[in-house]
Symmetry: C2
Subunit: 255 residues, 2 copies
């Protein structure tokens, strides 16, 4: 059996009882923290909570040695832990599908994920359009996808969740400042008036923690603001309902 | 202090340790189950898990007597429990905003929600467009919104999550069959070729449980299929990546 379980968003207390139940039963626990990471805890605390040692796999191990994990699950009960909900990353979906192809029972245990946690903003979840990811610009790789997604969503009045690049192996987490800067750089190139310094944006910092940071303001004012430690994400709101405006006013720190 | 915590999707084991931590500390626990419900458990089991009595509030109490709840949170620590993530329903956002207006500390504890749990389908979450709700048709109330949302999303190749009506006070939960039937009825009226019996749809039943039902097929074949006990939801997929096709083939029961 392969149990794919999520650890939630921030610390070891985000784990569900169902994950604890299965952790007790399985023969071995693996985890990966390169697609997402829990910044409010440590490996030791997670192991203490699950009361079992955890073998952390790096990107190479997960992507190129998936077969070993799946082979092991043929006659053992293996748990594979990831931050957030376990089936958000393509890599994890791939593992579940490959295991099922081999006839292995796959159990998926849900957990809090950024996709629903952004409900803490008071922005209505059903009004979010397609999600996008902003990646660290490289000399030969600076995708403009986020710009097109925001443009399409805004046309329909939808909010856009912009997830920010995580290079956990390099301990590099894109800040909201870097994310907003990347969006303005694409605007400079494309010049289609989708966003500017005058555009309002929302920033969520440390989602899942007891005191997440919620910030709202014009991009030109947010871009130099200190949002504290990562993880961050950025929301470009679409058409706002008056209740959403109230939430932005009373739940957010207005900048 | 007002602690708004989620119970997750299916049973009492979906609760997080963070919710348990706060349940121990607070003076009183309220819950509502009219916006969403946990079908895999009972009130008794939830109370045993939290080790505290829970006062269940009905729709009237939550919507018209919110002030009482908020007043109580001025000098006491009150927990308000809901199924799923606590800030998905507009009513809950409203409670958080009103409490903050009165200067009350609001703590939000995330939980698994259908918005992220649909990751169990292997359909990529970032490719979902706006979400829609299908409501029970009434003689004078049969909104065509879901049709327009699906139409807009399909134009852009996005998947659509269709949440189905919950009238928990009447123990009435829309089945995927009823939901698909409602969509076809709107097509009959509008006749814009957005969906038909030949359209492929996915059905998720009992999300959050260890063995959720995943079904994929043409609407004409799904519409009479028995998906088992609620809750159900329906997904109209947009443009599929080959990995998503693989997931539909190996994770779903193909009908």
């Amino acid at each position: 059996m392969l149990v794919m379980a999520g650890l939630g968003l921030y610390d070891e207390r985000d784990v569900t009882l169902k994950t604890l139940d299965f952790a007790k039963k399985v023969d071995k626990i693996y985890a990966e923290f390169y697609t997402a990471i829990l910044t409010g805890t440590s490996m030791e605390k997670i192991e203490n909570t699950l009361q079992k040692p955890i073998t952390v796999l790096d990107r190479e191990k997960v992507e190129y040695e998936t077969n070993k994990l799946i082979e092991e699950a043929v006659d053992k009960d293996i748990m594979f832990l990831t931050a957030g909900d376990p089936m958000v990353a393509t890599t994890h979906v791939d593992i579940a599908v490959e295991a099922r192809k081999k006839g292995i029972e796959v159990v998926i245990i849900n957990a809090p994920s950024i996709y629903s946690a952004i409900g803490i903003t008071g922005l209505q979840l059903y009004k979010f359009g397609k999600t996008t990811s902003v990646v660290f610009p490289e000399p030969n790789y600076f995708p403009e996808t986020p710009y097109d997604v925001i443009k399409d969503n805004l046309k329909l009045g939808y909010h856009t969740l912009c997830l920010l690049d995580i290079q956990a192996d390099k301990e590099r987490f894109m800040t909201a400042n870097e994310g907003l800067d990347a969006l303005l750089k694409i605007e400079e190139k494309r010049n289609e008036n989708v966003i500017s310094g005058e555009t309002y944006a929302a920033v969520v910092a440390r989602a899942g923690s007891i005191k997440p940071g919620l910030y709202y303001g014009k991009i030109k004012d947010l871009i130099n603001y200190d949002f504290g430690t990562p993880l961050h994400c950025v929301i470009i709101p679409g058409k706002l309902h008056f209740m959403e405006e109230d939430a932005l006013k009373y739940l957010f720190e207005n900048i």
